[in-house]
């Protein structure tokens, strides 16, 4: 353009160098140490949770590093939905953490994509100890002969009740009570104390699974849905009637007070949820809360199983032996149980279960509840969900809530649910 062109270029180059130097500066101090062979090995462990769990896990990791000085563990955590967003990106990008917290819903999904590590060779090599798990938790995450995870804690569905309301109504739920007993209780509470008996169970997939199991079916088969419109339509029609008659809490209010629970806020005398969630109720509400067993159809079979958080390795890890050693430590070491408490559910191995004696009332109740259902012999083995189950669970909850709010008729809701379920199963 002009005679100044040469000079311009030089100046431009200098400027470019300057900004490159700036970039170098930003990169400095963030270099990650590569793990050489022979020296200490670093594995990455991610989980979902908050502040409290982070502190506990960090303590366990400290303990682990002391006992295994050649393995370093770097930890990372997010809340549940963000955890999966990040994990999906990492897995797609070929850089997943070595060990993740996992749940049964995700096993088949990630197995289909070859994301998870088969831990069975490590069991044979003696790096992972599979002995001493509580009944109902052995071979928990075994799919098609592959061991895709090891449970760290168990939980089971329960009916969380407002003890004061139940006491006033003179109802004492016991193992072996039936849905008719439960319903009679709701009516008694409704007429005596003007409180809805339940927060509305129609959107809780895991409860409906139990009802189906009591009748010889299940929510999921190995690769699809285990029930049809013929089962769901009467269930949801009945639910809508109970919402209208006030046996179930006003769905508008239940939505409004979210994320608080309806029972903790006094909208209902009880609700079905995981037993380990009951710790929250005494923190959120003013009454005292207890755990009641799941009602059954025939007075015996509740269809219950132990659900669980587990630890899984990822297939791309360069250190499967160290991954197995870490998982084994987290599931068996009694000291870990004393640190973690019931944070991830009731410890999965008997050694850990016996090592930790809870001091607070809600945790004691959870321990007693799981012992009681194990002794009653109602526990069945869990069936790993097909890929897409997480999407279907969310759809069941959302469509169930819309139904209760009167946005859709039972018939349309059922139709919509099955069409969404079909899409989720096909695309995952």
């Amino acid at each position: 353009m002009s005679q100044n062109n040469g000079m311009d270029r030089r100046q431009l180059l200098r400027l470019a160098g300057l900004s490159a130097a700036g970039l170098g500066l930003t990169a400095a101090g963030c270099g990650s140490g590569g793990s050489g062979s022979g020296g200490p090995v670093t594995i990455r462990h991610s989980w979902w949770g908050a502040d409290d769990r982070a502190k506990k896990i960090q303590q366990c990791v400290g303990l682990f590093e002391k006992k295994h000085p050649k393995i370093k563990v770097k930890t990372d955590f997010q809340q549940y939905p963000d955890f999966w967003k990040k994990f999906n990106t990492q897995a797609a990008g070929g850089n997943p953490p070595d060990v993740i917290q996992n749940a049964v819903t995700f096993l088949r999904k990630y197995e289909a994509k070859n994301v998870l590590l088969d831990l069975s060779p490590q069991v044979e090599k003696g790096n992972l100890d599979l002995g001493g798990f509580r009944s109902g938790l052995e071979k928990f995450a075994e799919i098609d002969g592959k061991l895709l995870g090891v449970p760290v804690g168990s939980n089971s569905m329960a009916l969380v009740i407002d003890e004061k309301v139940y006491e006033k109504a003179g109802i004492t739920p016991e193992i072996g009570w039936t849905w008719d007993d439960w319903l009679a209780g709701l009516q008694k509470i409704k007429s005596g104390q003007k409180i809805a008996g339940d927060a509305g169970p129609h959107g809780v997939m895991y409860l409906y699974d139990l009802i189906l199991r009591q009748n010889g079916k299940a929510f999921f088969s190995e690769d699809g849905m285990g029930f049809g419109e013929a089962e769901l339509l009467p269930y949801w029609t009945e639910a809508l009637e109970r919402v209208k008659s006030g046996l179930y809490a006003d769905p508008g209010k239940v939505e409004q007070i979210k994320p608080a629970s309806a029972t903790a806020k006094g909208l209902s005398a009880g609700e079905f949820t995981w037993d380990n969630f009951s710790v929250r109720y005494s923190a959120e509400g003013r009454s005292s809360y207890g755990l009641a067993p799941i009602p059954s159809t025939d007075g015996k079979k509740t269809g219950q199983y132990l659900g669980s958080l587990m630890l899984s390795g990822t297939a791309r890890t360069k250190h499967p032996a160290e991954v197995a050693t870490f998982i084994s430590f987290m599931t068996h070491d009694p000291e870990v149980a004393r640190i973690m408490g019931y944070d991830r559910g009731v410890p999965a191995t008997t050694a850990q279960f016996e090592a930790y004696q809870p001091a607070d009332a809600p945790s004691k109740a959870i321990g007693a509840y799981e012992t009681a259902i194990a002794d009653a012999g109602v526990l069945e083995p869990i069936t790993p969900h097909p890929a897409g189950a997480d999407v279907i669970e969310a759809a069941f909850l959302r469509i169930g809530a819309d139904l209760a709010l009167g946005k859709t008729s039972p018939k349309d809701s059922v139709k919509q649910f099955f069409s969404e379920a079909k899409t989720a199963l096909a695309s995952n």
Partner: protein, 286 residues
Amino acid sequence: MSLLYAAVRRRGPGALAWHLGALVILAVVLYPVVWTLGASFKPSAEIIGALDLFPADPIGDNYTRLTEGIADIPISTFFLNSAYIAVGSVVGVVLSCSLTAYAFAKVRFAGRNVMFAIMIGTLLLPYHVLIIPQYVLFQELELINTFTPLLIGKYLATDAFFVFLMVQFMRGLPKELDEAARLDGCGHLRTYWSIVMPLCRPALVTSAIFTFINAWNDFMGPLLYLNEPDKYTVSLGLKMFIDQDAVADYGGMIAMSLVALLPVLAFFVAFQRYLIDGMATSGLKG
């Protein structure tokens, strides 16, 4: 204030109604902020479910709790990380986008219009399309768990919107100024630095403010690229208070959100002066 004064002077019933209406809308707009402020002095159990705007007996626990840090990491770490990324982004965007804009606005070269169109085209790419390819790229370069993936784009003028903004602004500057500079012996770089940059101040300040706010509030980027909690930014730290499996600490989260607002507010207050200042001078440039 001047609006209120005008209303008083005119004393028209229409004006009065207009102001009352504005105040009502203001109350609605400010309500969430006031609610958050009130909630930060409530105990966690009272925050959800209770309808009162202000607590019956306010507590400072939520703020003192912040000094304990989250997950054994002091709160200041999150703020320093965020500040590093936000300030780094502002410097990068101001320098790289203005330089790119200068080239598009003031230098004539082959393919300029095509390249400009392609750059504008990148505005149409949804962020989610880029997530995985970008992640793979930075993963191959071994830059995961550093701040580089969050900053490098800012130094390479990838924010097409800001480039566009500055190009439009520079096109509005009179050509005579460049010509005068050239006659005085300025090359492109000198013209860019001494003539165009000072005149572009409003565009630069606007870009700086938006870049700062975006970088400070960015969640997805840090979520994906940072793997160790002590490298986390404020937006990630905020989410550490709550999880479905735990007793949620709403009080701590709300107190920290309010503290997290302060730097953004301070940045805006400090720079909006220049924004108005710049507008005034650019009006006179003739």
